[in-house]
Amino acid sequence: MKDATKVTPLRAGVLIGKGVLIELQRRKDLYVLVFLMSLFLVSVLVARIIGIQEPATATFLLNLGMSLAVYAAHLLTLLLALRQMPDEIEHRTLYPLLAKPVGRATLVVAKWAACAACGTAAVGVLLLLGGLPVPRLEAYATGTLLQTLVCLPISLSMLAALALCLSLILPRGTAAVVAGGLFFGSGALIGLAGRVADSGLPGTLLAWTALYLPDFGKLNLVTRYTDGIPPLGPAAFGGLLLYGALCTALYLAVAAALFQRRSV
């Protein structure tokens, strides 16, 4: 006879993921974002009725819609991931979970996977709203689109891992600000460090250190797609995926280590 109390890590992960999904539905964050994207959809439909004469304008709308969808999905993932661990601890729902028993590392990974999956589903829905209704009046590379769609879940996973990690170190508000700042600003900071650093050793060290910041812009190929640029070569694309996977693994490892040591 099966031991009903024994929970395999996979089953634990699925159950935890269901919990995250239920929380997402309850919180209505997704619905707010869908509503906002619907406003964009309405404006695009109005523009189409008026008539979009210039291909440049259509490309701009496409880029705007896709970018809004990407940023909205990342915002959703960020907020979802930031809440997971602190809420479990605050509401004391963590103890029954750990008593199952579910390993602490399993819990962190399950939460991360669920947040990343929710974010991926959200970006799919939002891209349909933001990208599909815009007319394609210029040529775009399908290969670049596919690469964009592959990089998006990687980026969402990376952000979810980072948010989980920060939520275990910082208060929720501070973690939100730091994670949001890193998502929107780290690319600019890295670029700035690279440009203002002189060629001497201190400048090189500054530029090298700045590269430790997570650069989500590298995994956002929306503008490359709307610019009509061909897809990346295998080496460059593989490097991107490796970069995303490495950062994600690292943040997850740190989060798991922090949670192992945390007394709850």
């Binding site: 210039e54 304008t57 530029a207 590298k218 990346l232 970069y243």
Partner: protein, 365 residues
């Protein structure tokens, strides 16, 4: 500390993290040349479209927004309807038909250059003062420009409109307007080019404004723009203007330049030669059909660079080479009175840029 079973994984991850900048530094998926988002013509079309009008002051690029900021500073807060999609206005004032061989200015300015070069801040520009070719035209063309805040004669808002004009910085479009000295706008050009190294207008206009404060910095700024945008003809034109301006400062009468002025003229020649090479490349790549979509500013920039390259070659280089250059440019562009003069040919009729301007006016008519 991680458990003994996980320590190898932890060490590997730690090592990979330490080495990750080596990978991250090489990954530049969004560092490509060209692209519709960086195309000046596409930017102009977007900003002029009904969608652009819908967004109003919001522009489709942050660098355009910063360019609008510079316009606000220059006009002491009064908001004129901006046209930041004019990719290069520097050569509007230096549309050379004759090289400065004497005490006359290169640019045929209706508004004297000296009012700006003496650094007079906040001076008035009377309504009789033409801005068609003046140096104040350099940031944007405000001749007959409308203000963002609707004027009293066309404002349906009544009291609200009156209040708006009283509270916000406003000046009737028909009145003489003021320009500030321009120092305050310099940091904006730095920020806009740091955030968008492909923003050619920022480099071209910024170098022109920076020359009043520090010409060497202006040249370095232009060089930075050229390094990131080697095909940006407008930056070559702007840098050339800075060099010519410096030459004139060293020797007001350039018909007999002193040694230092001559050095600037030689540098200007080298600069214009590089620009001319870029023009030739783009001319041939675009083809006749592609050149039909060139704006009048692209024509102006291209012709200015070609003319200056030929004229300066005659001035400080080899006259025979200048003749050959002028003839080769004429073979490229068709006909141009200035180039014909340098080539020693007798040619009358409109220049290429005049033809382009006429064509544009007809098409928009």
């Amino acid at each position: 500390m991680p458990s003994p079973a996980h320590r190898p994984i932890a060490w590997i991850l730690g090592l990979l993290f330490l080495l990750s900048p080596a990978l991250a530094g090489r990954l530049q998926p969004n560092a490509y040349t060209g692209g519709r988002s960086r195309d000046a013509d596409a930017r102009a079309i977007r900003n002029a479209s009904s969608i652009g009008a819908l967004f109003g002051e919001v522009r489709t690029a942050l660098s355009d927004i910063l360019m609008i900021k510079t316009e606000r500073y220059m006009h002491n807060g009064v908001a004129y309807r901006p046209k930041p999609d004019k990719p290069n206005l520097v050569t509007r004032a230096a549309h050379p038909t004759t090289l400065d061989l004497g005490p006359q200015p290169v640019a045929t300015n209706a508004h004297a250059d000296d009012a700006h070069d003496t650094g007079q801040p906040d001076h008035d520009h009377g309504p009789a003062c033409s801005h068609g070719e003046g140096e104040d035209d350099l940031l944007f063309n405000d001749e007959g420009a409308d203000t963002v805040i609707t004027g009293a004669d066309r404002d349906f808002r009544g009291v609200i409109g009156k209040l708006h004009r009283a509270v916000a910085p406003y000046q009737d479009a028909g009145q003489a307007h003021q320009h500030s000295a321009g120092v305050e706008i310099l940091p904006w050009f730095r920020i806009m080019t740091l955030s968008d190294p492909q923003f050619v207008a920022g480099y071209a206009t910024g170098a022109w404004w920076l020359r009043r404060e520090d010409a060497e910095q202006a040249l370095a700024f232009a060089d930075e723009g050229i390094a990131g945008n080697p095909d940006a003809v407008s930056i070559y034109a702007a840098k050339g203007q800075v060099l010519l301006s410096q030459a004139r400062k060293c020797s007001p009468d350039l018909s007999t330049p002193n040694a230092e002025a001559r050095r600037y003229l030689v540098d200007a020649l080298t600069n214009y030669q590089r620009g001319a090479e870029a023009v030739e490349r783009q001319w041939l790549e675009a083809g006749a059909e592609g050149r039909e979509s060139w704006t009048s500013y692209q024509w102006d920039d291209a012709m200015a660079v070609l003319r200056m390259a030929a004229m300066l070659e005659r001035k400080v280089g080899d006259p025979e080479q200048a003749t050959a250059l002028a003839r080769s440019y004429l073979a490229l562009v068709g006909h141009d009175a200035t180039l014909a003069r340098v080539a020693g040919l007798d040619e009358t009729g409109p220049s290429r840029s005049d033809q382009a301007s006429n064509s544009e006016r007809r098409n928009s008519g």
